[in-house]
Subunit: 282 residues, 2 copies
Amino acid sequence: MKKLHIIGLGLLGGSFGLGARQKFPELIITGTDANQKNLAEALTLGIITEAKEKPDADTDLVILATPADTLGDLVLKTLEQVNENTLVFDVGSTKAKLCALLTDHPKRSQYLAAHPIAGTEYSGPKAASADLLDKKVLIICELEKTDLHLKEKAYQLFEALNLKLRFMDPEEHDRHLAFVSHLSHISSFMLGETVLQKMEDDKNIFDMAGSGFASTVRLAKSSPAMWAPIFTENKENILNAMDGYIANLTAFRDKIAAEDSKGLFDEMAEINKIRDILDLGK
Amino acid sequence: MKKLHIIGLGLLGGSFGLGARQKFPELIITGTDANQKNLAEALTLGIITEAKEKPDADTDLVILATPADTLGDLVLKTLEQVNENTLVFDVGSTKAKLCALLTDHPKRSQYLAAHPIAGTEYSGPKAASADLLDKKVLIICELEKTDLHLKEKAYQLFEALNLKLRFMDPEEHDRHLAFVSHLSHISSFMLGETVLQKMEDDKNIFDMAGSGFASTVRLAKSSPAMWAPIFTENKENILNAMDGYIANLTAFRDKIAAEDSKGLFDEMAEINKIRDILDLGK
């Protein structure tokens, strides 16, 4: 592997660049970003060595790391630009629409649908780090549709970055992620909003916030440019998750209103089971 | 200060004990817990030096650290047991009902209403630590109703533990805490519940959970024995906070359903302001 091209030099694209440079010091890494400030920062930070609008013909790997709603057009455009020895993969948070779009594409075998479960509430090249992806899960969808030899190029990178591969179909991916990632972000944003609204009457409300609040509201700092497209791209699954969440909140609210102490206790004791499940993953 | 007595030897009561022992090695610390296992552990861990049902007559300070709904009766009972040189303070998460109950009590001046903004999702004596309270905020309500000289005993302890004191009236305390603490716990419990329900169909859902989910669901590990009473004690304020939260979720849901990308972006960009506010507190 000699040449890597990255489109979208934010948190994820930038971390792939920094990680790849650390593991493959000889690798030529080119790239671009629609935002000129991000592009300049990515050069300064050494995420890429050269700014290039499009990948060279002999590029081994192209990583697409732009917002979810831009990836469809970008995959199509990029597949047109590259020659037959190039593998293109995206790192978007939604997979079903993308995979459906590519199903009958003549160059489908040059595309790999990937999603690393890694991130922070910060965004942009400055938020990127060489070890963001270290030991994180990377979900791959429709692996069998990608060319066996081209796949090796991506695997070489994934292995070097210590990514742990998981395989599933794109619909399953989107359904799962709505619950364990997208809903978390929404619950956090809405918590932040509710407390900000309250602050309009009570100025000093944040003085009283402890580590529990900081933890639950952390994701409300996340990038709207990244998340708004995810919410619309994965609409059906997210609405399903939100409806379940709102129904649970409403039922819990009614238990509090009825001062049903035993009901509240039992429900929370049941939810405590999540301890074992979360600890199992460690 | 020679003698300290702690009733309720869990996370908070235990941390007061361990912290006090570290700062005042000569201090005699007695205490009790309704749970015999907790009591035995507290002795083993050195939280207390002797188990005692009730405080000695010459005890300087009594700390009440039992669940919120038990504190009313416990304050009344304890004030009856102690002599005029003892100060009794509680560390409960709700303050309005307690302060109202004590308003016309003949020994009101021997009571201090306190609430340290400190905790973790774990509970019991083993979760206690000598530095849990270090540099944390301690809210004190109706300070003027406590005897000036007795207050000094508590201040000596608070200062040694590096607690940062804040003063407010009990209603304000309960209103604020419903938003910045109690609602966080509910949002987290309900998130955990929603994902556990989903797991019934999709066994491997937690494989895909990243650090964002771990952060927002952390409080769902919290103790039901502690939290059920808080929710009923602070019912009105919590229902108010939850109604705001559910209304925000419902409106956000409708924006997703309408694929209102701009509306979603703008709303999240507005909520991002919480970054500056949270960072300000650092």
